[in-house]
């Protein structure tokens, strides 16, 4: 595996399976009364968040702390960054403080890659602009594996035949439909690369205005018609719609978007029996997803949050050489 996690596209199938299997093991630790492992004791993880994202920051913080790392939260607001300090100078400051890993969230695509050129430590991308959000894709893959009985270790209910007892299997043959603002979504990009690497068949569904012009070069199918895609979906993943897309004329109104691309109960009924509904959060209830769908038995939205901690533990553990530290 690379020293950094910048893009889900950098992960081989074996890399991805190793992360997911490791997350399976670490998830079992989270079920114990004492959730802490000594693996990263003495290591420092900096959460460098240039964008507000309480959910993701807390998830990374919990993951690092469960591995006994020291965690420093650095929020750009009210810091020297707000006074005009460059990303490079911030990086050099963190370097001087001896950060072993930097978890970065930034509004500019590519900021984690730039950072990786300026620090010696490991860089983990926690979401950069419209580029990628690889740990989100990993936790989504993790959630799908669990739901379809392909995880490693003790079998969950409804386990499908063919899954390995020791290591989990990939997502071969599963049909995943990603719906919404693909053009601006880092979640969509990371999932498109990772789920394809893991063997899933990914279909992107969006109004044409919210698809990249060269989406035909992506390893995915593309459709403008949600109703046609749903009966052929094992997983449907709804993306958040930003309010400003409407003012930029990507679609005429929120109501029209919701009618054509929102997932309500009637549409959910078109899904195959085993299908699940995912959302990376935060949701716009009533826009891309109806409340009754979000709260339904098919919804994995809360599990995704739980799984996020295990997956991020696995990423930090593997990137910071937790295995070596332990042995």
């Amino acid at each position: 595996m690379n020293r950094h996690l910048i893009s889900a596209a950098d992960l081989t199938r074996d890399d991805a399976l190793l992360i997911l299997d490791t997350a399976d093991e670490l998830a079992r630790v989270s079920d114990r009364p004492i959730k802490k492992l000594p693996t990263l004791r003495g290591r420092t993880v900096v959460n460098l968040f240039f964008e507000d994202s309480t959910r993701t920051r807390i998830s990374f913080e919990a993951a690092a702390k469960r591995l006994s790392a020291d965690v420093i939260n650095f929020s750009a607001k009210g810091s020297s960054v707000a006074k005009g300090e460059s990303l490079k100078d911030t990086a050099l400051t963190l370097e001087a403080m001896g950060a072993d890993a930097v978890v970065i969230r930034h509004s500019a695509s590519g900021a984690p890659q730039r950072l990786a050129g300026w620090v010696r430590g490991t860089v983990v991308n926690a979401g950069d602009g419209a580029h990628e959000h690889p740990t989100q894709a990993l936790l989504d893959a993790f959630t799908i594996r669990r739901k379809f009985g392909r995880s490693s270790g003790p079998a969950p209910e409804g386990r499908l035949p063919g899954s390995r007892p020791s290591g989990g299997t990939a997502l071969d043959g599963l049909r995943v439909t990603i719906v919404g603002d693909v053009l601006h979504s880092r979640v969509a990009r990371s999932n498109a690369w990772l789920l394809t690497t893991l063997g899933a068949e990914v279909t992107l569904v969006a109004p044409p205005t919210l698809l990249p012009v060269a989406v035909g070069t992506w390893p995915c199918s593309v459709s403008y018609d949600l109703d046609a895609a749903l009966p052929k979906s094992d997983v449907v993943m709804m993306l958040r719609v930003q309010q400003e897309r409407m003012t930029d004329a990507y679609f005429p109104s929120v109501r029209e978007y919701s009618r054509r691309y929102g997932l309500d109960a009637a549409r959910m009924a078109q899904l195959p029996e085993q299908a699940i509904v995912m959302h990376p959060g935060p949701m716009n209830r009533g826009v891309e997803i109806a409340a009754e769908v979000a709260d339904s038995a098919r919804s994995t939205i809360v599990e995704q949050v739980t799984n996020g901690v295990s997956v991020r533990m696995a990423v930090l553990y593997l990137l910071l050489g937790g295995a070596e530290a332990q042995s």
Partner: protein, 429 residues
């Protein structure tokens, strides 16, 4: 100043080796040299002699951003690149939109002495896109401005563009348009295509350039004026210009060295040294640009030399400045992209990098040819040399060369400006 130089055995515009005798700033003879007594001799076996190169498009940054470049450092870079004249773009601070500012830049060029500096005047006051600058006053100033451009910004208002095209007819001026439809390029970062989609960078669609070029060709035809299209970057733009020229309209165009060699795939590492406006595009665009330059659809190569200090490039891609340096590598890139590929011979290089830009810039006394009796602005170039590009060795004050670390052919050996060497043995004379 009475200097006599005998350049022995160079190949004028790539032709048969000949001796070139320079006396009193004039090419006295080519081939059968007369009295060469007292002449300094340069052994130029194997070198190409070109008419001194002319750049229609450079940003010298003075006044205002002397931390990025000055007229002194920018023209030194130009001379080292084989140029004897550069046009200095108007987007300085203050903007070159009055006779006073263009005169200042012109005088700074004369003081530096490395090459001629021809200021480009802004089309609109402060590049604001709303009110015409005093174009006539700049034309009548000692700087003799003939090329007007809001480069860096597009004159997007169709009425204002029409008026500007019409107005400069009174003094044989030309409007050099930075073709970029502003609404289609809000926040644009990189050529809209496969790479921008994957990297999550806001796309800069080629159509935003092509739509303005098409409109401006029609406007220029309607009012019978001269339009020059800056830094053509897409295959579609080449097509439109070919069509307009086929109609006999007064349209000229330039292409930059970087658009002839580099693609948007270089942005994959998010290093803003590859961030430029218009953006690097695709291999198909490069092929069309090379073909357009070869068949004359595109008249000339212009550098769009755009120096920036390190801090404006050592950032996230989105916040980095647009632009690349180019004066010191232009001829070498043209050799790589056009000559070594068999698309242009050296006579055509002389045409595209000297004669045609001199004509578009309405430069008096410059024919862009090597013949007895013309002012001796000459570039000596060794096409057999090869070396890695190292921006640390550049005379430009800035280091943002996209060719850094690339091995390019060629070396500028000497540059003469009206009989006086500005560069000898690859160093400032």
């Amino acid at each position: 100043m009475s200097e006599t130089w005998l350049i022995k055995g160079a190949r004028p515009a790539g032709g048969s080796p000949a001796d070139i005798l320079i006396r009193d700033g004039i090419i006295e003879a080519i081939g059968a040299a007369g009295s060469t007594r007292g002449a300094s001799v340069i052994d130029a076996q194997g070198l190409i002699a070109l008419p001194g190169l002319v750049d229609l498009h450079a940003h010298l940054r003075e006044p205002g951003r002397e931390d990025a470049e000055t007229v002194e450092t920018g023209t030194a870079a130009a001379a080292l690149g084989g140029f004897t004249a550069v046009h200095a773009m108007a987007n300085t601070d203050p903007v070159a939109d009055t006779a006073g500012v263009v005169e200042q830049i012109w005088r700074l060029g004369q003081q530096a002495g490395h090459c001629d500096v021809h200021p480009v005047g802004a089309v609109t006051l402060g590049l604001n896109g709303r009110h015409l600058a005093e174009l006539g006053a700049m034309a009548d100033s000692p700087a003799r401005v003939r090329v007007f451009s809001d480069d860096g910004r597009c004159v997007s208002d169709a009425v204002l563009m029409r008026r500007a095209l019409e107005y400069v007819k009174a003094f044989d001026g030309v409007i050099a348009q930075h073709a970029q439809e502003p609404r289609l390029t809000e926040g644009a970062q990189l050529n809209e295509g496969e790479v921008s989609g994957r990297l999550g960078l806001t796309g800069w669609p080629a159509v935003a350039e092509e739509a303005i070029i098409a409109r401006d060709c029609l406007l220029a035809a309607h009012v019978g004026s001269a339009l020059h299209v800056c830094h053509v970057s897409s295959a579609g733009s080449v097509e439109i210009i070919r069509w307009a020229k086929g109609k006999g309209w007064r349209v000229t165009a330039e292409v930059t060295p970087h658009h002839l060699l580099l693609t948007d795939a270089l942005a994959a590492g998010y290093d803003p040294v590859y961030k430029v406006n218009p953006p690097l595009r695709t291999a198909a665009d490069i092929a069309a640009l090379r073909e357009g330059l070869a068949d004359g659809t595109i008249d000339c190569v212009a550098t769009d030399h755009a120096p920036h200090p390190a801090e404006d490039k050592e950032t996230e891609w989105d916040t980095a400045a647009f632009g690349m340096t180019g004066l010191e590598t232009a001829l070498r890139v043209v050799q790589q992209a056009m000559v070594d590929t068999g698309l242009l011979d050296w006579a055509a290089v002389a045409d595209r990098m000297s004669a045609r830009p001199a004509a578009i810039g309405r430069l008096p006394g410059r024919r862009g040819t090597l013949e007895a009796g013309v002012p001796a602005s000459v570039t000596l170039y060794d096409p057999a040399a090869r070396s890695l590009v190292d921006p640390a060795l550049h005379a430009s004050r800035s280091r943002n060369s996209p060719f850094a670390g690339l091995e390019l052919p060629g070396r500028v050996v000497a540059t003469f400006l009206r009989g006086r060497p500005t560069v000898l043995d690859g160093k400032l004379a």
